[in-house]
Symmetry: C2
DNA sequence: CGGCCGAGTGAACGATCGTTTAGAATTCTG
DNA sequence: CAGAATTCTAAACGATCGTTCACTCGGCCG
């Protein structure tokens, strides 16, 4: 008899197969039989181990969340989220299933995806707060909203990886979507944007400020 | 007998029903019978009019693209894309089906979504070029990549609308996702970011520049 | 008026879906 | 070694899927 937490078993193979297929073709686009075939077992065994297809999805969710939060190896539980993502991006071939599944989890809007997004925003907000305190960042007029914007911007390479990869032409070694070249090419312009902005002056900003104030004239 | 271009017919009602359901539950999550029920017809009639479910999806794609590109009403065909989006955002309740479908079209990565994204990037690139020429924007070090970044940033409220709406707490009148309040709240911080950036100085930027140069020391 | 064609429907078909069941094979346990 | 528990499979079940078929109904044209 194997303990519940034991991995590298048939049970774990099924979960990994489900994770890869869910990430590649979506939940509805993946059949239990396809998962079973990829794991080299029968369809009935998949149900036997996880109870239902939905429960299997939940197992994949928690597995990914555990992996991204790194609860297993280190109890740091601190802002290592960015580090984890960075590590994933440098080894795109290995972690592509995880990245694809993660993107779909966020887009599908399930409970786990919501929790993940909210945590990401919270951490981003804390990061910006710390940056302002340390003097390396400017204080935004609306911290929460700015955190949402920065967080979503960070998710974009994940969610739209295929489009970005295609638009930047880098059909790299890791198939369609992001390649290491594309990630590298994104780095400088992104930092440029976050350092100098895009507009030459603040005329657009003050125009918008004026337009919004005239709509809500205040007490 | 009705002409092929005639709308407001049963055929158009079926397409609108499909558009709404595809946008709400996805292609795989929508059955032909559900579309038929929403349109008030039989499932067989849906197939009779469009040949297959896939062909119906294609019809929805072209309908949305026609609507967003505005080919019907005006032949301007110029940078009205931003105007269209702005008009949609001010009437979220009416255009929510279109917005939902559009978001799904882009993340699903079909041919129509690819074409749409590529056009968006091209127009963004042209817009930045013009902005630089007019002196209202700074010249980016990598125009194409910056266009991709700005374009994808603009798509984020569409793709992650539910997350953004939830994170900003504005459970408005138009259901979950974006509300007019949320859109308004996003305006100023976004322009702030595009005007002043987020970092207080260019230390992060120059550090990244140095790191990238040391990896590719040149010939 | 008679023939015809498109709109529209209800029933059914074959395929596939997630899941269940019965049982064989294997492993652990007393 | 006997027995219990676990792992795993083949087969089938009921539901639902997209699609087809046979058919009716109502205008239109010669």
């Amino acid at each position: 008899m194997r303990s519940a937490g034991d991995d590298l078993t048939t049970r774990a193979r099924i979960r990994d197969a489900a994770l890869a297929l869910f990430g590649a073709h979506g939940f509805d686009g993946t059949s239990v039989r396809a998962i079973a075939a990829r794991a080299g077992v029968s369809a009935a065994l998949v149900i036997h181990h996880y109870g239902s297809k939905d429960a299997l999805r939940t197992a994949c969710d928690t597995a990914i969340v555990d992996e991204i939060m790194g609860r297993k190896k280190s109890m740091l539980a601190e802002g290592d989220l960015a580090t984890t993502m960075q590590r994933w991006l440098t080894d795109l071939v290995t972690f592509r299933p995880s990245l694809d599944y993660l993107a779909r989890m966020i887009i599908d809007g399930g409970d786990a995806g919501q929790a993940l997004f909210d945590q990401l925003v919270d951490r981003t907000e804390a990061m910006i707060s710390q940056g302002v305190e340390d003097g390396v960042m400017k204080a935004p007029s609306d911290l929460r909203t700015t955190a949402v914007i920065v967080a979503t911007h960070g998710l974009m390479p994940l969610v739209l990886e295929r489009h970005i990869g295609r638009a930047l032409g880098g059909l790299g070694l890791s198939g369609p979507g992001l390649s290491l070249d594309v990630v590298r090419r994104l780095t400088l312009p992104t930092l440029e944007l976050y350092t100098h902005g895009l507009y030459a002056d603040d005329s657009a900003l003050s125009a918008a400020r004026a337009a919004l104030q005239e709509r809500t004239p205040g007490p």
